[in-house]
Every structure is written in C-alpha cells, then in structure tokens.
C-alpha cells in the first residue's frame, strides 16, 4: 500500500512551515511522528494534497519544567523520550504512567504527544491524560500564539481546534499546588491495540492529605475523550478515604459512555472504569502503593 500523491515540503523553521501552510491550500497536514497519519494515508482514509514535515524544524524536541513547575512538551518530543524521562518520573506520575502504554515500543520511537493530541482519536491515551492534568496546547500561526485547553482543543473524533495555518507547537501542563499523585491504567487485548478502556487520574494533594485539585479523563468509552468533571469535583477538599474513593469511582463509571463491541460489553467496560478509578485513587491514598501503572491485557 502507498498513499495517494501529495506535495511534500520539509521547512527548516516554524515561520517557513506556517507560511507553507498558509499558501498551501485547504487540505494540508503536518507530519511529525506520522504514526497515525501515514497509516491513514496508506489506507486512503486521508489523502492530503500537501504534507508539511516539521521534523527538520529545530527547537521542537524538548520537554522541560519552568521554575514554577509548568511542564512544556515540544511538538517533536517522542513518546519514548517521555517513557524514559527522569523529569516525568520525578514530577508527573500520571504522564509517567501513560507514556510506556502508548502503542508499542517502535511506534513510541516516532510518535509524538502533541501529534497524538492533534490526531484527536477518541481512543488516544494522551488526550485523557492531558485533560486530567488541565493541560493546554499552544498553537502558532500567522497571527501569533494562543493556548487552547485540551478539553476545548479536541472538538470531535479526529477533529481539533487548529486553524488551517496554525501548528501545534507545544503542550503545557500547569504547575501543581501541593504534591502530585495519580496514574493511568488501561485495558487492552494486546500491545498496540486500541484501548478497551483507559482511566487517567491526576491529583494535587495538600500536606494535610486533602485533595486540592483532581482531574479524571477516560479513554475509549465514548465518541470523544471524556472529562469526568463530577467525579473529579467530588474529590475536591476531601481526604482519600475508602468512602471518598468509592464515591468518586462510582461517579467516574457513570461518566463513561461505553458501547458494546468486540472488545467487551458496555457493562464490562463501565465496571473496568470503576475498578481502575478506585485502584489509582487507592494507590495514591495514605498507605497506598504509589503511582498506578500497568497495562492489563484481556485474553
């Protein structure tokens, strides 16, 4: 299989890339990791007229924390960079838990976090993680830069809020108040398959053990990534007691909109969402095991 014909540009700067997009007509696509785009082009689900490959643009391959704790992930940072990142391991439990679960090790060497957000697949792991963290995407275009919260950035399945001449250059995670806790758990039939379901929980916990802020994002149990705001709000101001955990897990399960398919029944998926939420919260509670991170594989 090979893609339909397209024009290919490999600009050497962001300004050049934006100019190419601006002048390039309607159907242009940015190529970063290409691990979703190239398969879609080969299957002719996508037939862009112009590919703007940003892999030669310098200064997009980074992830770093500002002095205030704000985390910035550049558009060319690969999943594998995040999987092996000491910074994430030390300061971002939810992201550190999710990075090793993205696709498979070969895809992780090419694919990017920012590209995954742009692709806006309801089955994508990073959108749930970044929604739980209250993260934003920074878009750069001819009119300058703007930050778009991930919750607003994804406008539908495979649709995002970028203008045709804008490039997503960075993902930004705001600093935490208190200590970060949380994790990401995902059920998949085998490595690289779409998630049967996934639950991302991001917590900020005070010295007294109370939840200052919570965010919960769900993968693969709805037409888009789900932001379980009621479940998150129920945790706010509370200690992670067994009762609080059970109530939040129940609200998380209610927020899911799973459909029965070959990966499992709707009831089963909802049950797994409840179980995963309780497991991550339990691990974060006093006496818990710390950040929850394993992929469960169904037979």
């Amino acid at each position: 299989m090979y893609p339909s014909r397209f024009r290919y540009e490999a600009p050497r700067s962001l300004d050049e890339a934006i100019g190419t997009l601006r002048d390039g007509g309607d159907y242009a696509k940015i190529l970063a990791g290409g691990q979703s785009l190239v398969p879609m082009m080969k299957l002719r689900f996508a037939s862009p007229e112009l590919i703007v490959d940003i892999n030669n643009v310098p200064g997009l391959d980074y992830h770093r924390a500002d002095a205030d704790g704000t985390l910035r992930v550049g558009a060319l940072t690969r999943h594998a960079d995040l999987e092996w990142s000491p910074l994430l391991k030390a300061s971002q439990p939810t992201m550190a838990a999710a990075a090793p679960m993205i696709a498979d090790p070969l895809v992780r060497n090419r694919g990017t976090l920012v590209g995954s957000l742009c692709h806006a697949d309801p089955q994508g792991d990073w959108a749930a993680v970044m929604i739980s963290l209250g993260a934003s995407v920074v878009a750069q275009g001819p009119r300058g830069r703007r930050a778009i919260p991930v919750a607003d950035f994804v406008t539908g399945p495979f649709e995002n809020a970028l203008e045709h001449d804008e490039i997503a250059v960075e993902a930004v995670v705001p600093p935490a108040q208190g200590t970060r806790a949380g994790g990401y758990l995902k059920l998949e039939r085998r490595v690289g398959d779409f998630a049967t379901c996934g639950v991302a929980v991001a917590l900020e916990i005070s010295a007294a053990g109370e939840v200052i802020r919570a965010g919960i994002g769900l993968t693969g149990v709805g037409g888009a990534t789900i932001n379980a705001t009621q479940a998150a709000a129920a945790l706010s101001g509370k200690a992670l007691t067994p009762e609080a955990i059970e109530a939040a897990a129940e609200l998380t399960a209610q927020a899911a909109q799973p459909r029965t398919d070959h990966r499992g029944s709707a009831e089963y998926k909802r049950h797994m969402v409840r179980t995963f939420a309780a497991r991550i919260l339990g691990a974060a509670a006093p006496g818990g095991t710390g950040p929850a991170t394993t992929t469960e594989r169904a037979a």
Binding site: M1, Y2, P3, S4, R5, F6, R7, Y8, A10, L31, G34, Q35, V38, P39, M41, K42, L43, I51, D53, N55, A80, P100, A103, D104, P105, L106, V107, N109, R110, V191, G192
Partner: protein
C-alpha cells in the same frame, strides 16, 4: 531508483513531484530520486535492493519491517522514504561484518530463535535498539522491547532467550559494559 506506480490517468507527468534525497544505509552513502509518497520499506527493498527487511502486515501492526533510523528501531512501512534525507538507516544486512555474525544473529542460531524466519530481521533490529540502550536487560526488559514485534511460530520463548544470549555475549566481549 525506479519506482512504478499505478497510472490513474488524472495527472500530467510534469505535475508528479519527485525529490532527490541523500542517505546512508549500512554505512554506504546513497542518492535516490523518489516520489515523496514512497515508503521507507519500499526504498530499502526495491530501491536499494536489500530484501532482508520484510513487509508483513503493511499496517503498522507486526514490526517485521523494523529498521534503525539514526539508531532507533522504527517500522519502515510507517515512515516516508523522503524522511530519511540526511539520516542513517541500518537494516539486518548491516548487522554482520564480512567475517563474523553479530551476537544477535549468533544468539538466534544458538537458541533456535526462529522457525519460519519471517519476523526475525524485525526482531533482531528491535533487539539491537534495546541492547544499544541497555546492554544488560532482564527477561522482562526484552519482552517489553519486543512487544511491538509479532511472531506467529515460536511463541516468543526462544526469541527472548536468543536476545539474552546475545546480551551476555556482547558483555563478555566488552568488559565494563555492565
């Protein structure tokens, strides 16, 4: 190189974009004239004529087409050939020297790490990516690193043993690698 595509009759030949790229494959410097839509796997197999890189699923699932690009294992069916402009590609043919097999190749022989052999080049290249990063992997590390490569024959047991064998052999050769 010459690549042949289906003519859908809808374009003048002068409109067909062609790019000239330079790249290194297994240490040899090459120049190719290609359409941007050519996949890296096709550049390697049809253009350079190295058929050790196998095309399995062609849908980013199986890992049979794994090669190293700038030292990192990637699926060559999921990368445009034009993207290796200025970069270095290593295929399974680049593992052995003129006189000696690579420890990974020896390991697959010693531990019976293959049956039909179709997935083997991809397995070896993914394993090379692991050993370059981690010369002393555990069994779990090996299984993790190969989790994107499918084998329909072996049940993986002997593939894992082969990689562990190769790791040990490499460590014995380069003291202080641990």
């Amino acid at each position: 190189m010459t690549a042949v595509y289906d003519d859908l009759g809808d374009e003048a030949t002068s409109d067909i974009p062609v790019r000239r790229i330079r790249f290194t494959i297994n240490g040899a410097k090459k120049i190719a004239e290609i359409e941007p839509r050519l996949l890296l796997s096709h550049l390697i197999r049809r253009g350079v004529g190295l058929t050790g890189t196998h095309m399995g699923c062609d849908t980013t699932n199986c890992g049979a087409c794994t090669v190293l690009v700038d030292g990192k294992p990637v699926k060559s069916c999921t990368m445009l050939a034009v993207q290796v402009d200025g970069r270095e590609v290593t295929t399974v043919e680049g593992l052995a020297s003129a006189s000696e097999l690579h420890p990974l190749q020896e390991g697959f022989r010693e531990e019976h790490g293959l049956q039909c052999g179709f997935c083997t080049p991809g397995m070896m290249m993914a394993a090379k990516g692991l050993l370059d990063r981690n010369p002393n992997p555990t069994e779990e590390d090996v299984r993790w690193a190969l989790s994107g490569n499918l084998c329909r024959c072996t049940g993986y047991q002997n593939i894992v043993k082969s990689v562990l064998w190769a790791a040990e052999k490499q460590r014995a050769r380069t003291p202080g690698a641990e």
